[in-house]
Symmetry: C2
Subunit: 245 residues, 2 copies
DNA sequence: CGTCATCCTGTGGTCTGACCACACGTGCTA
DNA sequence: TAGCACGTGTGGTCAGACCACAGGATGACG
């Protein structure tokens, strides 16, 4: 009953692969509860520490949510919130210099321009259109004159995320959430570089409205261009070395 | 000396944030070694188990590499390999139904088309061009007539990844690697749906050459279109329900 | 004096057992 | 019947103990 290190390296990986296999074969679905840590430990023949290490990974990756106590809400429950894991990954990779900030900005540029264009293309004159209401609600909130730059920034991030959500592509939504948190620290620093915040925020609001307007008009090309200019323009103002490909 | 659960929930998160803070302030850089698990445990006032859980997360996320033994190569060493973490994240999210396969394909479409276009735009007639040699080497390898479909698929994946690497955008490279592994299982299954493998592989080779040719010719629009058609065409053949936006 | 085998040390990897705080369900009590 | 106390099972954490491994330090031997 030792660590059986000879034939199976990394006990926690056994647990991880077991859970992944269960997910793939459908034995485990979102909303289901994993067996208890002690039960998993006995079932897989590994120590509880190893089980916990695997569960911790799953938790950070946004696959499970854990809660103590008893009852239906306790234990490890399968969820699928990719945003959290993506954010952690991007944030740490940026911190470790694995992801240059410029590359993140470039990727945002690509994804968001594409999203705006797709939203416009999905808008047909017959009324069949993606739901932009959440995004427009955020735009209204950003019109409030007594917002601190930080608050404005948060709403701005939420607006861009709302557009991604409206596109219905969960991968892009999660990725954009991750990209955002990856450069969040830099974005906060960048606020200091803005000379005239009043003018800048007014321009940002105007550009946001312009993007939404182009989408409503089903003008994909304009939506793409405006989104591209909006993002690259902002970063050009806050970072001196921002690329504008 | 109890778990000090009252003021600080989640001991492992303390470790995670400590490492992240050290990374952000530059006290920890790629190539550096983290303190030993026992040392970190004592330094942060948490148990070694908690330290290990945090380290496990960092390892899966591709931020550290651990090795037992002694010497300069032992311990936890900061690396920055975003591909690994991204792959694990995508794979598990797909398994948990958090990422629909269709969304992954759509995202691939967007990113790869953009990459091809950017590569073409970066190609100037004066000889200033991105390095496509690794990608073309893979194309040569794919011309070998005695490749199994699985081997071909692996080379195909490597080729697409090589294009992303040529673009120099590490975020896109890592993301595409992740997207790829997310649908790897489905791609393998999809092989069975191909009726005439010989014809399909010939077409794929031809299309690959076409993409590279357009890039060399600095024809961004064609490079984008060909990449888009290449990917969506392949998925249309292997998955019946593949979107073609 | 040089070379090689040996031991020693420190590392991650794992297991075990023991607590704690918490939330729920049960069943007793008023 | 309504309310509350207790028991139980959950994750969260810690402490200690081994193991396997890699490398350096130490010594014996040619």
């Amino acid at each position: 009953m030792d660590a059986e290190t000879s034939d199976t390296p990394r006990a926690w990986r056994i647990v991880l692969e077991h859970v992944e296999a269960q997910l793939l074969e459908g034995a485990l679905r979102p909303g289901d509860r994993l067996p208890g840590e002690r039960a998993l430990s006995a079932e897989l023949g590994v120590g509880r520490s190893s089980v916990r290490e695997a569960l911790r990974v799953l938790e950070v990756l946004g696959l499970i949510r854990t809660a103590a106590g008893s009852g239906p809400n306790s234990g490890a429950i399968i969820i699928a919130t990719p945003g959290g894991g993506m954010s952690a990954l991007m944030r740490l990779q940026v911190a470790a210099s694995g992801f240059p900030v410029a590359d993140i900005v470039r990727t945002r540029l690509i994804l968001e321009s594409s999203v705006a264009g797709d939203l416009a293309e999905a808008t047909s004159p017959t009324g069949d259109a993606p739901d932009l209401a959440p995004a427009e609600l955020l735009l209204d909130a950003m019109d409030s004159p007594d917002l601190s730059p930080t608050e404005f920034l948060a709403l701005d991030a939420a607006f861009h995320l709302a557009l991604a959500e409206a596109s219905g592509n969960q991968v892009i939504t999660a990725t954009m959430a991750g990209l955002r948190s990856g450069i969040e620290g830099y974005a906060r620093e960048g606020l200091a570089a803005i000379i005239d915040w009043h003018a800048t925020s007014a321009r940002l609001r105007r550009e946001h409205r312009g993007i939404v307007e182009a989408i409503h008009r089903a003008d994909a090309a304009t939506a793409r261009t405006r989104t591209h200019d909006h993002i690259s323009g902002y970063y050009a103002e806050t970072f001196v070395d921002t690329p504008t490909p």
